[in-house]
Subunit: 408 residues, 2 copies
C-alpha cells in the first residue's frame, strides 16, 4: 500500500445522508485481500439517473450495460466491484454483469435494467460470478454503512477515500448532492473519470439531469489528466432520488434549475480535483490556464497538451522553471499559435511575452512558487477569446515505482 498522497485533504468531509439512498458494503474477495470490495447502493423508487461513460473503443461490459440502461432514465440500485474491471473478458464478462443485475433485481423486485453496475481493477480477468453473487448476498444482509465506508470500498490504487458535498435551494427546498469517486492512474477521461457516483435527493427529470451532468463533465472530469491514459471503464453516474420534495425540475428554465446545475458542477469539479490530488506519485497539484486561443476547444487542447507533457510534468516535479518546455507543449498541440504573441506565467510571475523571455525576468518568485504544492501555469496565446482550465499533477519517481512494479 502506497502512503497517503501528500496532496490529500486533511480529513474525510462531513457528509449528510441522502434520503432514498441506502449504502451497504461486503467482502466479495475479488483479490486476495481482506477488505470490503463490493458496494451496493439501494435507491428509492422513482430515482432518475444520468451518466457519462468512457469513449474507449474497447469498453468494459459494465460500460455497455450502463449505456443501454441509461436510455430508460431510471434506477433502483448501483453495484460497484473493486479489484477486477472485468474489461476485455468476452462473453464471460457480459454474463457476470447480467448475473449481478438479475440477482439484484430479484432481491428488489425491479427490472434488471434498473440496476447499474461498475467495476474497476485489472483488465482481462472475467469477474468471478460466484464471488459476485456471494458478495451481493452478503451486502443485502449487511447493516447500512456511511459514505466513508462506501468511498473506501470502491478504491483500488487510491491512497485516500474521496467524497464531496454541495447544496442548492430548489423551489424553497434545500437539496443535497453527495459524490464519491475513485481514480489515481489511467486518468485522462474522455468523457468521465474512472468511477464516480453522485447522489442527490432533488427531484430532477432524467433528461435534464443528463444535460446538466454532461455540461458539468466537460469542465471537470474531462478537464483533468494524470497520465494521458484513458480507462476502459470510466463511468460517472448521477442518481436523483426525488425525496427532497421539491417540484421536479424538468427544464433549465424551472426555478432552482440554475442553482442545482451550479451545485452539480461544483461537486463534479471537487471530485475531479480529488482524483488529481491522488494522481499516482503526485507531489504537486497543477492548474493550467490557457487564454487568448482561437476558441475554447482550441484552448482546451493546448492546455491538455501542456498537462500531458512528460517534460513539463518532470520539470514541475524538479521545481525547475523550465518555461521552454511549456512553449514546446504549446507548439506540438497542433492548434493555432503564434510564437511571437505567446505569453507565459508561473504563479503570478510573467516569464515570457511576445515570443521571448521577459527583460529583467527574476526567477526568484517563480522558484518560490514552484517549491509549493499548488502550481499555476498561465498561457496567453494572444489570438482570440478562447479559454480553458485543466488540472494535472507532476510526474515523479513515485509514478514509475507504482506502475513498473504493479503486477497484473
Amino acid at each position: 500500500m502506497t502512503d497517503r498522497s501528500p496532496l490529500a485533504p486533511a480529513s474525510f468531509p462531513e457528509l449528510p445522508p441522502i434520503d432514498g439512498v441506502a449504502l451497504r458494503v461486503a467482502r466479495a474477495r475479488y483479490k486476495a485481500w481482506d477488505r470490503c470490495d463490493l458496494t451496493y447502493a439501494e435507491l428509492a423508487e422513482g430515482t432518475a439517473v444520468a451518466g457519462v461513460l468512457t469513449q474507449s473503443r474497447c469498453p468494459s461490459p459494465e460500460v455497455e450495460w450502463c449505456r443501454a440502461a441509461l436510455t430508460l432514465g431510471k434506477a433502483r440500485a448501483l453495484v460497484v466491484n473493486a479489484g477486477n474491471s472485468n474489461a476485455f473478458t468476452g462473453n464471460r464478462g457480459r454474463a457476470a454483469v447480467e448475473a449481478i443485475a438479475a440477482r439484484t433485481a430479484q432481491h428488489l423486485g425491479c427490472d434488471p435494467s434498473d440496476v447499474f453496475v461498475a467495476s474497476t481493477g485489472v483488465i482481462g480477468v472475467p469477474l468471478p460470478i460466484d464471488k459476485a453473487e456471494a458478495g451481493l448476498d452478503a451486502a443485502f444482509a449487511a447493516e447500512p454503512c456511511d459514505w466513508e465506508a462506501a468511498a473506501a470500498t470502491i478504491m483500488t490504487t487510491d491512497t485516500f477515500a474521496k467524497a464531496a458535498v454541495t447544496h442548492a435551494v430548489v423551489g424553497g427546498k434545500t437539496v443535497s448532492l453527495v459524490g464519491i469517486i475513485k481514480g489515481s492512474g489511467m486518468v485522462a477521461p474522455d468523457m468521465a473519470t474512472m468511477l464516480g457516483f453522485v447522489f442527490t435527493d432533488a427531484a430532477v427529470a432524467p433528461e435534464l439531469l443528463q444535460q446538466m451532468l454532461s455540461a458539468a463533465n466537460r469542465r471537470s472530469f474531462s478537464s483533468i489528466t494524470v497520465d494521458s491514459d484513458t480507462s476502459t471503464s470510466d463511468t460517472v453516474l448521477a442518481f436523483a432520488t426525488g425525496t427532497a420534495g421539491n417540484e421536479p425540475l424538468a427544464s433549465m428554465d424551472d426555478a432552482g434549475a440554475d442553482a442545482f446545475h451550479s451545485a452539480l458542477s461544483d461537486l463534479c469539479l471537487q471530485l475531479a480535483h480529488l482524483v488529481v490530488r491522488d494522481g499516482e506519485g503526485a507531489t504537486k497539484f497543477i492548474r493550467i490556464d490557457v487564454e487568448g486561443a482561437e476558441s475554447d476547444r482550441s484552448a482546451h487542447r493546448i492546455a491538455m497538451s501542456i498537462a500531458n507533457s512528460p517534460l513539463v510534468k518532470t520539470a514541475i516535479a524538479g521545481e525547475d522553471a523550465n518555461w521552454g518546455r511549456v512553449v514546446m507543449a504549446v507548439g506540438k498541440a497542433g492548434e493555432p499559435a503564434e510564437r511571437d504573441r505567446l505569453a507565459i506565467r508561473f504563479g503570478a510571475t510573467q516569464v515570457a511575452r511576445d515570443g521571448l523571455a521577459l527583460a529583467g525576468y527574476d526567477e526568484a518568485p517563480v522558484a518560490a512558487h514552484l517549491k509549493g504544492k499548488e502550481i499555476e501555469i498561465g498561457v496567453d496565446l494572444g489570438l482570440g477569446e478562447g479559454r480553458a482550465t485543466v488540472w494535472t499533477c507532476d510526474l515523479t519517481h513515485g509514478y514509475i515505482s507504482i506502475n513498473a512494479d504493479y503486477r497484473s
Copy 2:
C-alpha cells in the same frame, strides 16, 4: 553525464568519407563545458539538399531559415550548434541565424541561403552571436575531422554518438550514404526527429531527393517516439554532393533510383532506431506492430497510442506482461477497433484473441521475452489490411531523474 545507454551499439560504425563533404568542429562554448559544440560541414559546389522539419507551431528561427532555404534546393554548408536551441528568442534569435549564415557565406563566397543552420539545447536563451562567430572562425581554421567527432559534437543529453552508413549502385557507380543524428528526449517527431543529417556523394536532383526523404521519413523518424514530446527544432537534412559521378537521378523511373531510395530509407531507419536506443532512461527497445486496421494511417495512430502510453511503457520497464494496458491504449486511440476481434501478442506468444485472454495461456515464454532488451508487441485488429510499425523505449526512473533534475 549519464552512463552510456544499455541499448547502445557496441561501437561507433566504420564510415567512409563522402567526397565533397569536409567536416570541422570547434569550441563555441555555448555552455560552461570544455567540449566541441559547433559543427561545420563544407559541401561541394552543386550539392543538392532536401529536408523535413518540425510541425511545431512554435519552431526555432533555424527551422524557419531552413524551410525558406530548402525552396532553392542547393547547399554549400551546414552549421550545427549544440547546447542552445535558440528557440523562442524573438528577433535576437533570428539575428543570430542570419549572422551565422552571413559569416559562412562570406568565408565560402556563396549566397547566405546556401548555408543551413540547426541548433539544439535549451529553449528561450538567444544564441550568443559573439560566441557563434568566434566558434565559426575557429572551425574555418581547424583541420578536417572524422564522422565520429562530428557526431559527438552535435550531441546534448545523448549518451553515445550516433551514425550509420548504407550504399547503393546507381548507374554502375557505387554511392555511399552516411548519416549522423542526435536526440534522446523530447522525441515524438511530427516530421523529423531532433537533428539528423544525411550526406551522400550521389548526384540527385533536389526535388527527387525531397520526395525520397519525405517518404523515408514517414517510416523512420515519424515512426518513433520516446516521450510523446515534439521538439521546436526537429530537423533532418539530406545533402547530395554529386561527386560520385553517376548520371544525376531526376525521377523515380531513372535506373538506380529505386536502389538509392531503398538505401536512403534504410539509413533513416537505422538513424531513427539509434535515437530510440538512446531514449532518456531507456532499458528496453520496443517494436510495436499493428495490423488488421482499417488503414495504414489508422494503424499508425493506434501504434503510436500504444508507444506513448505511460502505463504500457512502465509495464515493459517492470517486465510485466500486462496486456490489459495494451487494450487500454488501443481503446483510447479513437480509431476504429472492435474489442471482440482484437488479438495481442508479446514476442512470438499470442496472449489474447477475439476479445479475451487465450485459453491455457502460458505466461512463462512472455515473461522470458520481457526479460530481454528487445521487446515486440503485436496487435491485430481483425478489421482490414492497414498496418504500421513504430518503435519506442520503456519509461523508467532514469527518465524522471534526467528530466526532473535537468536545469535550464
